[in-house]
């Protein structure tokens, strides 16, 4: 007997009688004998006490450093009320809301999530989530290919290199081509776009703030692209949209990004959550699940998954995307985060991140060990160049309990560049200590 398996011998005997076989083994008689009952090397069955002990031992072998870097994952504050809400079994254990009558809870939060994403991005419609920011960007590429019927993409070289890698992988297998636009000044300019734009381009994909933390300005981009029948895809950190001009204001066609920055725990890389939003005119080409508001037979307001004819279970080999399960519970997480922090909270947290990052930037430049290679506006993340020993810097910071700086050479970028990021969780005392420690490295 085992706590997850309720069957008693009496149950088994009664059930076998109903089925009309003498043993459970008889129900496997269609499995070839040569592959039946393999030898497995499994651990012993851990009691709960042992399980906790095992995980605590693993945890003891982890030293949590205070991040003063971002590079796609940001240490933002997580309000305490989120976890107990998302752990409610009605949310946590529930299935995909294909039976809307008993899934109105899930559908309700998806609808609110979609609503908040459209307000943040100033786009018309959004889906119920994607796996992460990088795959959301790749799916935007597929969507643009389907809409324009073109297969050539211009991608800014200031994207997070991992996002670019994912785009390249997805493009290769789907038969799409990518031209990377280089930006030696650190931000993509309209001149670079004009030089590269040809009439076979399906879309331009950009990211702001970019991998260097720099804020890019896309005034004039959409006019040029749309005149060429090309689409405009912008990847943005949604936490920065409290302040920054969003995709919709740039007349982008598709907005995507990584919403981990909306209070989702760092958790060594996942689960995070991608978002995608677009113009109403393209909604039927958008991948993923979409929740809509309708009425029931009694005229009551009701939510339901809609426009399902786009999806894999209907279109099969004609589908533009194969996505099925997404990051739904994280969409709930983000919806609660945005409800809790709200209009002023998101702004205040972002402003503190902005202020703290500029404070750190000034202090680091003041040590004389770093230079700014770009001198461009940045938000909560910035890049500095150093001739110093970056490994020594990282080790010194680590000894003081910090994870900083990030060596951009790890992502294949300039080996002198280091990246820092500051959020509302970082105090002046922490930043002063970090600067002191880095400044003291030989």
């Amino acid at each position: 007997m085992f706590k997850y398996l309720p069957h008693t011998q009496h149950d088994i005997d009664t059930m076998l009688k109903t089925i009309g076989v003498s043993s459970i083994e008889a129900l496997f008689d269609d499995v070839p004998a040569e592959i039946l009952n393999p030898e497995l090397s499994l651990p012993h069955a851990h009691s709960e006490i042992e399980l906790v002990r095992h995980f605590r031992t693993l945890a003891a072998n982890v030293n949590v450093l205070t991040p003063v870097i971002g590079v796609g994952a940001y240490d933002h504050y997580t309000p305490s009320i989120i976890r107990p809400l998302i752990e409610r079994q009605e949310f946590l254990t529930s299935y995909t809301p294909y039976q809307p009558e008993i899934s109105q809870g899930t559908l309700h939060y998806i609808f609110e999530f979609q609503s908040m994403i459209t307000r943040l991005t100033e786009m018309d419609v959004a889906n119920a989530s994607m796996y992460d920011g990088s795959t959301a960007t790749a799916e935007a590429m597929f969507m643009a290919a389907a809409i324009t019927k073109r297969s050539h993409f211009l991608v800014s070289g200031t994207l997070h290199p991992s996002t670019l890698e994912v785009l390249k992988t997805y493009a290769h297998y789907k038969g799409l081509t990518i031209t990377v636009l280089e930006s030696p000044e650190g931000v993509l300019t309209i001149e670079t776009l004009k030089k590269a734009l040809t009439d076979d381009v399906a879309a331009l994909l950009v990211q702001t703030p970019n991998i260097y933390g720099l804020i890019e300005n896309y005034d004039g981009f959409s006019e040029i692209l749309h005149a060429n029948q090309s689409l405009f895809v912008i990847n943005q950190d949604p936490a920065t949209l409290s302040h920054l001009k969003p995709a919709g204001a740039y007349d982008a066609d598709i907005a995507v990004g990584e919403a981990q920055s909306l209070g989702v725990p760092l958790a060594f890389g996942g689960p995070y959550i991608g978002y995608m939003a677009t113009k109403s005119t393209y909604v039927r080409k958008m991948p993923g699940r979409i929740c809509g508001l309708t009425e029931d037979v009694d005229g009551k307001k009701a939510f339901t998954l809609t426009l399902q004819a786009r999806e894999q279970h209907i279109r099969r080999d004609k589908a533009n995307s194969n996505i099925c399960s997404n990051q739904s519970l994280l969409a709930l997480f983000v919806t609660i985060y945005l409800s809790t922090m709200g209009k002023e909270g998101l702004y205040e947290a972002s402003q503190q991140s902005l202020d703290g990052a500029h404070y750190l930037y000034d202090a680091l430049l003041h040590t004389g060990r770093f230079k700014d290679p770009f001198n461009q506006p940045f938000f909560k993340e910035f890049t500095l160049a150093t001739d110093g020993d970056i490994t020594a810097l990282k080790q010194a910071a680590q000894a003081a309990g910090f994870l900083a700086p990030f060596a951009l050479s790890q992502l294949g970028l300039n080996e002198k560049y280091v990246s820092f990021a500051v959020t509302e969780k970082r105090t002046q005392a922490e930043l002063d200590r970090l600067v002191h420690v880095l400044g003291g490295v030989q």
């Binding site: 997850y4 851990h46 459209t118 009425e295 307001k301 209009k343």
Partner: protein, 482 residues
């Protein structure tokens, strides 16, 4: 259930706050106006208790595994152990930045240990845990298949997919750049071998199969199929959605599969979350390991680390290392079960056959063979009153039970696919059987009542046509009159 349909925006009042942040004394930074938005986004302004009440009341409109059973075929809705939530919340597992490289031995051990366990359980050489969901795993696995063919310059472009397969199978094949050729199924859902041999030409790169198949019948010809595909220079992909009845009883690797994915949120108990996050690890045979995506876990004399620069792989398919918080739970599940993992398959199969035998007088059973973990009815046995599978499903809601999977697989017009997982007791199953028998009787005695079900749910018979024709997808898209 109570119908709570207030929007969070309706609870908003300017000036309300549901948060506090620490005061900071940094100098205030003002960015260039050209970079800024004109107005702040209209996010809610509420208070902490208000937020809690809103989402708590919202949760009352949902059903979960702790409410009752989900007999959903192909979904494997088993108990999600509570202890896993506590483990995932430990600071060591929730607060480490993915680019931290030192002091992470405990985290890397989890990745490496789960990888090894999954390989052993499924008969594969190694796994990647980077794929985020089953469909994502299918895509990654097919990218591996494509890369192998590219490396061997075979020029093969076709993938065989049974017509009974889950929609993600052909969709994933297309996204990976293959052409899809549909294989006919016999009435019991198994591969029609005549059609298989007819379509197995020199352009076939591989086949995607699940075993048991999508109606829960074991593919008896699997060894013959794998030999034939290999002889023709192709690879076999295993869709792990139906792995539950094989746990410990048979391994996909031993059947000849070369690449596979596992749905951790099905077989290994991680929560469905209303539609994710899941995890779809991909396992491969030894000579395909070099194609697994980066970053790839790596062990040398210094210990474990992530290799971000590995050459010759399919590339990168995720920002970081996948849903760490999810696969930590799958690892805990395997540790708790230990050798009991083998019992999972046995009881899942026992449960399914018991429910099938108990209901075959009232529902139309298309095939007499023993099933594995799931089976399909083709609607009611007595269809004279024209009560459909949809009607039966909606009537089940009145009895407080989540319906089985309906209208899948496409093989049967009135498909009703039932999977009574191993964590369900005989008592629970008997209750389900009793209700299904009652509904079958109602379909004969009072068909109109079944056809107009559900009657007691908080909303009923939604206008799906209106939802698709006139989409209202955000709060702001609501018609002005509201």
């Amino acid at each position: 259930m109570k119908n709570y349909d207030t929007f969070i925006f309706e609870l908003s009042e300017p000036g309300r706050k549901a948060y506090t942040l620490e005061a900071k004394s940094f100098a205030n930074v003002q960015l260039d106006e050209r970079l800024l938005r004109k107005t702040q986004p209209e996010l809610p302004e509420t208070y902490e208790l208000g937020v809690l009440r809103h989402f708590t009341n919202m949760s009352f409109k949902n059903y979960g595994i702790e409410t009752g059973m989900y007999p959903l075929g192909s979904c494997t809705m088993k108990y999600n152990p509570k202890i896993h939530q506590d483990l995932a919340a430990l600071e060591a597992f929730s607060a480490v930045h993915p680019y931290q490289e030192t002091g992470i031995d405990g985290l890397l051990e989890i990745y490496a240990s789960l990888e090894t366990l999954l390989s052993n359980i499924s008969g594969m050489a190694q796994f990647t845990l980077n794929s985020y969901a089953g469909a994502h795993g299918e895509l990654v696995g097919l990218m591996v298949m494509k890369k192998w063919h590219e490396a061997n310059q075979t020029g093969k472009t076709k993938v065989l997919v049974p017509d009974a397969a889950h929609g993600t199978n052909p969709a994933s094949a297309i996204v990976a750049g293959f052409d899809v050729v549909e294989l006919a199924s016999k009435p019991d859902g198994t591969v029609d071998m005549d059609d298989f041999y007819a379509k197995l030409d020199e352009n076939v790169a591989g086949i995607m199969l699940t075993n048991p198949n999508t109606i829960g019948v074991f593919e008896r010809n699997i060894l013959e199929i794998s030999q034939a595909i290999h002889a023709a220079g192709g690879l076999l992909y295993y869709d792990g959605a139906n792995l539950n009845p094989l746990l410990g009883m048979a391994r996909p690797g031993d059947m000849g599969f070369d690449i596979m994915h596992i749905n951790l949120h099905k077989t290994f108990s991680t929560p469905h979350g209303g539609g994710g996050p899941g995890a779809g690890p991909v396992g491969v045979r030894e000579d395909l390991v070099r194609f697994l995506p980066k970053p790839r876990i790596h062990r040398d004399e210094k210990g474990l680390s992530f290799d971000h620069h590995r050459a010759g792989t399919i590339g990168q398919i995720s920002q970081f290392y996948g849903n760490f918080g999810v696969y930590l739970k799958a690892y805990a599940f395997i540790l708790t079960n230990g050798p009991h993992l083998k019992d999972i398959a046995r009881y899942a199969v026992l449960n399914a056959n018991y429910v099938k035998e108990s209901l075959k007088d009232d529902y139309d059973l298309p095939t007499e063979t023993h099933c594995k973990h799931e089976f399909v009815f083709n609607g009611l046995k007595d269809k004279s009153t024209h009560v459909t599978t949809l009607d039966v499903a909606k009537r089940l809601l009145d009895y407080g039970i989540h319906p089985p999977t309906i209208y899948f697989p496409l093989l049967y017009k009135e498909a009703l696919m039932i999977e009574p997982v191993e964590t369900e007791s005989k008592q629970t199953l008997d209750q389900f059987i009793a209700v299904m028998k009652t509904i079958a009787k109602e379909a004969k005695d009072d068909p109109e009542m079944v056809k107009s079900a559900p009657h007691t749910t908080i909303v009923r018979r939604l206008n799906e046509v209106k939802a698709a024709r006139h989409p209202v997808l955000t709060f702001d898209m609501q018609p002005a009159s509201e």
